[in-house]
Subunit: 364 residues, 4 copies
C-alpha cells in the first residue's frame, strides 16, 4: 500500500490537495454500531481550522465536514465511512511565482523531482498541512470509539513555543484548561508569553516552532504487536506524517538516555489492587506493549517554513540563485493548531491496536 | 499483517525467541541478481554479537548465519532469502525465578497479560534484544543492495553515553574510526571516557543509556511517499522496533523547535551544478521526501533495564510487593552493540523506498 | 486491510452504498503524468449504467463521474485520484418490507447477522451490484494506463446466457462487434436469441445467468509474483468481488482437467522471432506468471437473485416461514452489464502487477 | 507485500525451493494457547508426501516437520510459528539439460524472463508443487484451530480423474472413506477405475488432471469482508496458488449459470430452530459472506505438465525448435496428493476470516 493510508484494522485513507476541489477521508474498519454525528466531528475540526485568531493563518475555511457513506440512521454500519470537506478559500495565484523558485523548508523541490513536475504545487498540494484535517475527521471517530468502548482518553497540548516552556509538569486536572487560550497551553500565564512571542515573530516576518505533549489514559495492558508494530513504532509512524514534526520521544525519551538504569526503571507496586509503576519513565510502553500507565509522548515541531522575510534560494528553471519572498497567508507558528491533529493520530493508532488485540470487537 | 514483518516491497519477517532453537529472517523482495555471500552478512553480525568485550554481556553466541533459501550460485534469485542463526548458549534456568517477579523496565508484565501466560518468557523471549540479529541479517543485504545499485552508504555511531558526548560534530572522515573502539564512537578520546563510565556503572550493578547518530549519504532526491509513508514515518517505525529506543529525531529535531524559521530553514544553492542546501537542519528530508542531502537521525536509548542491583517489584502470583535481583549475563549498556542494528533498519527502509519509487528495479 | 481496497501498488478503495448519498473510488499508485479526462471514464461507465434498455433494470442513474482529486491540468499527479458519483434515483421505500423477510440469494441474512442489524440494507447497501461502478471508475484509468504504457488491451464479452452459447470461438476481429448489441455478445445472431431468452425470463418474473469471457493481449512476459500473488490468484480475487460471480477458470480450465497432458500442454514455437505457444490452454499464465500469450478467463454468473415470482422464505422477526415478493426494479440478467466491470478488474490487476514487476514506472 | 505471504490476521509466509536446502513456513497471528505437536502436523504432511504409492512420483522425501519457533511447552505462544522441512532426495542433475529447453506447461520460460536467468530452475525451484508442503504445515495448525475454537471441519476429496467422475453426490458420511484409497476418492469402486486410468496414462508417458471438491461445515454466519475480501475472493486467491489449478467454482458454479433464478435461489426455512436454506447452490456464501451452510468448492486441476513423451519445444539458447524429453520422477496425476493442500489453504483462509470477524480471539 502506498502512502495515503494508515492502519491495519482501522484504516484511514486520506485524499485531496490544498487547492483542489475537496479533501476527504475514508475510514474503514470502524466497528458497526457506534453512534456518530457530523457535529461531533465538526467540533474537533473547528479546533484545528485556520483563521481562528491572530496567531494563525488568515485563510478562511469553514472546514465543514459532510459524512457521505458508512453512517446510517446515526450509527456506523461497518462499511467505510467517507467524509468530505470542500475547499473554498484557495488563493492559488499566490503560488504561481513559486513554480520555479524553491521555497526553503518545503517539499517543493523533492516533490518536483519525484513527480517530474506533474504534482499539484499550489499551496503545497498534497504536502500541505491542510491535509491534516483529513486525519482529524477520522480521528474524531476513533477518539469517540476509544471513549465509548474502553474509556480511553487522549489529550495533547502545547508545552513549549520557541524557548518558552511550561513551568509545571502536566497533570490530568489541566485538561480542561487546554483550550482556554489560543496557544492550547494549559498554563494560562505561560500561554500569554508564548502568544506574545508568536506575535513578535510574525511582526518580524519570522516563525516559531515548539513542542506538543500527548497523554493517553485508561489504555488496557497488552496493546501493541512485537516487533515492528510496537506501539512506539506505530505511534511515531502516525505522528511523523504531520508536516513540521522532526522529533518524537516517549516517556523520559532523550532525557532518559542520560540516566542510570536504577533511576530510569519504573518500579512496580500495587495501587487499589492494580499493578502500577511508581514512576512512568517508560511512557506507558514496555517492549512496545502498553503496560496500563498513561502513554506519554513529546513531539518536536520545527518553526514554520513559510516566512515573510526574503530568503536566498535557487530558481529551478534558470538553475541560478534567486531571491524569494513568500506571499500568501501563513501560520507564524503551527503548534497551536496541532493538538487536535496529534489527538487524532494517537486515537487512530490506539484504536487500531485495540481492534488488533481484540480489546474492541468488530461490532459494538 | 501483524508485527513480525516490515516493509512494502522489501519485506523482512523476523522469527524466533531468545532461548528457542533458532532465530531467523525471511527477506522478500530483494531484486534478483545481487551477489551475496554468507561472510558479508557474518561480518556485520559480528559487530553486533554479544561477548565481544568487557562492556557487553558475557553470553557467548557464535551467531553464525546460514543462508537456506533465495541465493543460488552466489546470486539472489528473486525468491525469499531465508537466513538462520541457531541459538547455542542459552541459560534458561536464570529465568525461572523471574516467571512471577516482574522485571522493571522489561516487557514481562505486559507480555504476560497480553498472551495470558502462554508467551515464552525465557530471556525475554520474543521481546529480547537478541532478535535484532534478525534485522542485521536482512540489513546486511539491504546495505549491499543500496551500495551496489545506488552508491548509498549508511553509517551510525555512538555519539553519547550517559552524559558523555562527542566533542565535535560528525563528519564523513570519521567513518573509518567508528569501529576502532568498543564503544563505536569515532572520537577515540571520548570513547575511552565512555568506556570507563560503562565499567563504573557495571561495577555498581547499574546501567547506562546513550545516543546513536545515523548518517546516510548519496540518497537520490524523491524517496518517500506522502502522507503516511514519509521517510520519517517509516524510518522511525523501523527504529522504534529496537528495544530500548525511546526517542528519534531528524536533522535539528528537538533543538530545531527552539529556533526561528529564518535560522532553521535550509537555503538552497548550487554546488558543482547540483542543487543543495547550505545547512542540513531538515536531516535530508522535506515533506517526508528525500532532498538529496544526507539523512541524519539521532536515536535515544534508555539505560539497560537489567541491572544487578536489588529492585522492589511485584510478584504476580502473590500480587504482593517483592524484592528482585536479576541474575544472568547482561549488557551494562546496549548502545555500543546498536550501530549495526541501526544501520540495518535504515538500509532496509531506504532500500524499500528505493524499490517503491522505482530507483531500484526488481531485477538488477 | 479490511475488504474495501484491492491492489498492492495500484490500490483501489471503494466506498458508498446503493441508496446512500454517493459512491466513490480512491485510486492510489497511478503513475504521475497520465493524461486523463472525465469523459474517458464516463464512456466506460455509460456501458455499465442501468436503464439503458429493456433487458436491464429501469433504475435511472446518470452515473456522472466527477474527479475531485489527483488530476491537475489534465494529468495525473501521483496523488490519490478520487472520483465520485452522486446517487439520484434511489427508491428506498421498496426495501422497507424487506427489512425482516430474507431475500433468497442475497446477502441480507448474513449481513444482518454480521453487522448486528446496523448495516444499511436499502437496495443491498454495501453489497449492491451498484458498487461495481466504483471499480469501473478506477478501471477506466487502469485500462488507459495499460494501453499507453504497454499497449495492453483487455476486452470481455458475453459468451453464454442461460444455455445459449456463442457458436464460434472468440477471435480478436470480433472486438469491434461486442458493443453492437444490448447483450454484449459479438455474435449478433446469437445475441438476438440471448436477448429473447432474457425477455422471456423477465416476463415470467424470473432471471437468467451466463458466462463472460475475458481476453487480454500484449501482456509482457513475467507479470505475477509466486506463490500467493500469482496472476491467477489476484485476477480471481478481483473477479470474485463481483456479486453473482460463482466460478472462474483460466485457459482450458475445467475442460482441461478432462484432458491428457499431451493434449493440454502448449508446445513452444518461434513466430516472427518471438517465442510463442501453438495453443493457449494455459490462458497465458504458467506458474502464475504471464507467458506473453493472451490471458483468457471464463467467468460464471449466477442468475440474478431478485425475481418477481413469489418465493418462500423466513421472516427474521417472527422466525417463521413467510412468502416474499420482491418489488423494485431489477435486472432480469446482469451479465450484459458486466463486461465493463470485468474489464476494469482485469485492467486494475494487470496494471498493479506491471507496477510491481517494474514494467510500468511510478512516473510516466 | 510481494507474493510469498497470504492472510491478513493469520499470515503464512512460505520460503524455500524444490532443490534448495530447506522449505519452510512462518505462520504469524495464530492465537496463543493452542496445543500443537509436531506429530499432528506430520500426519497431514504424510498424506501429501511423494513416493507413497505407484501413482505418485518416486522422489522419496521424509518430509519431516520441525517446529523451531512459536511453540513453548506444547502451546502456541502468539509469536510466529516457524516450521522447517529439510530437503534430502533432490536429483538436480536431471534438470541440467532443461536449463535451455523450455518444458511445456511449466513456469520455466516466464520465470527465466522474469528473473533474467537468476532463478533457481532446479526442479521448478520456487514454482515447484513441492512448496505446497509449506502450506500444509501452516494448514495443519489452522485446521486444528478451527476445530478447537469453532468446531469447523474442512475436508476435500477427489471427485473426478480425467473423465471418470464419482457417481453419487458427496455427503458427510463419506468423509471417513476419503483416505481409504490412493486416489482419495470416497467412492471405492470409482477410485479403482481412476487408479487404473492413472496407471494407463503413466504407462503411456502421459498424465491426467481432475477435480477436487472441498466441503467445510460448521462455519458461523458472517465471515467474509465486503467487497474485495469476500470469502470467494480470498478462498480463490489461496487455491489458485496451487500449481496446476486452472478453475474454481463455488456451489452450483458454472452449472448454476445455466439455471433460472427460480431454480438456483436457495429458499430459507427453519430447521431445529436455525435459519437454513433448503438447497445450497450458493455454496454457503452470499454476498461474499458465509451464511452458515457448508462452504462447497470445486477445483479444476490440469493434467500434470511433466510427461515422459517427447515434446517439441524451443531451445532458448539457440532460439530454435528442439525436441524435449523430460526425465526425472514425476506424478502422472497430482490430484490424489492435493486434498491435504486444499484443506490447508481453505483452513488458513477461513481461520484468517474468523480472526478478522472476531469469531476467534487473539488469545484462546
Amino acid at each position: 500500500m502506498p502512502g495515503s493510508s494508515i492502519g491495519q484494522r482501522l484504516v484511514l485513507t486520506s485524499f485531496g490537495e490544498s487547492h483542489g476541489k475537496v479533501i476527504g477521508t475514508v475510514l474503514e474498519g470502524c466497528p458497526a454500531g457506534l453512534a456518530i454525528e457530523e457535529k461531533e466531528i465538526q467540533k474537533m475540526l473547528d479546533l484545528r481550522k485556520p483563521g481562528q485568531n491572530v496567531i494563525s493563518t488568515q485563510r478562511k475555511e469553514g472546514d465543514v465536514v459532510e459524512i457521505v457513506s458508512g453512517v446510517f440512521r446515526g450509527y456506523t454500519t461497518g462499511a467505510p465511512i467517507t467524509m468530505l470537506i470542500w475547499n473554498s478559500d484557495q488563493k492559488s495565484k499566490d503560488y504561481e511565482n513559486l513554480k520555479t523558485k524553491l521555497r526553503p523548508g518545503h517539499s517543493d523541490y523533492p516533490a518536483m523531482v519525484k513527480y517530474n513536475h506533474y504534482n499539484d504545487y499550489r499551496g503545497g498540494g498534497r504536502f500541505s498541512g491542510r491535509l491534516t484535517a483529513t486525519h482529524v475527521m477520522g480521528g474524531a471517530i476513533a477518539r469517540k470509539l476509544l471513549k465509548v468502548a474502553l474509556g480511553i482518553e487522549t489529550n495533547s497540548f502545547t508545552s513549549q513555543i520557541g524557548k518558552i516552556r511550561m513551568e509545571k509538569e502536566f497533570n490530568e486536572k489541566m485538561i480542561s484548561s487546554i483550550y482556554k487560550n489560543d496557544v492550547r497551553c494549559p498554563e494560562n500565564k505561560t500561554a500569554k508569553i508564548m502568544r506574545d512571542n508568536i506575535l513578535i515573530a510574525k511582526k518580524n516576518g519570522d516563525s516559531l516552532g515548539g513542542i506538543i505533549e500527548s497523554v493517553t489514559t485508561n489504555v488496557p495492558v497488552g496493546l501493541g504487536e512485537p516487533i515492528f508494530s510496537s506501539l512506539e513504532s506505530d505511534l511515531s509512524k502516525a505522528i511523523f506524517s504531520i508536516p513540521s514534526v522532526k522529533g518524537v520521544e516517549f516517556g523520559s525519551g532523550f532525557r532518559g538516555s542520560e540516566m542510570h538504569g536504577s533511576e530510569n526503571n519504573d518500579l512496580y507496586t500495587i495501587k487499589k489492587g492494580k499493578i502500577v509503576t511508581k514512576t512512568n519513565n517508560s511512557g506507558g510502553i514496555l517492549g512496545g506493549i502498553s503496560n496500563g500507565m498513561p502513554i506519554t509522548m513529546r513531539i518536536a515541531f520545527k518553526p514554520a517554513s513559510s516566512i515573510a522575510q526574503k530568503q536566498s534560494t535557487v530558481d529551478i528553471k534558470t538553475k541560478k540563485e534567486a531571491i524569494l519572498q513568500v506571499k500568501g497567508r501563513h501560520d507564524p507558528c503551527v503548534v497551536p493548531r496541532a493538538p487536535p491533529v496529534v489527538d487524532s493520530l494517537v486515537a487512530l493508532t490506539i484504536a487500531d491496536h485495540a481492534l488488533i488485540a481484540g480489546a474492541i470487537k468488530p461490532v459494538l
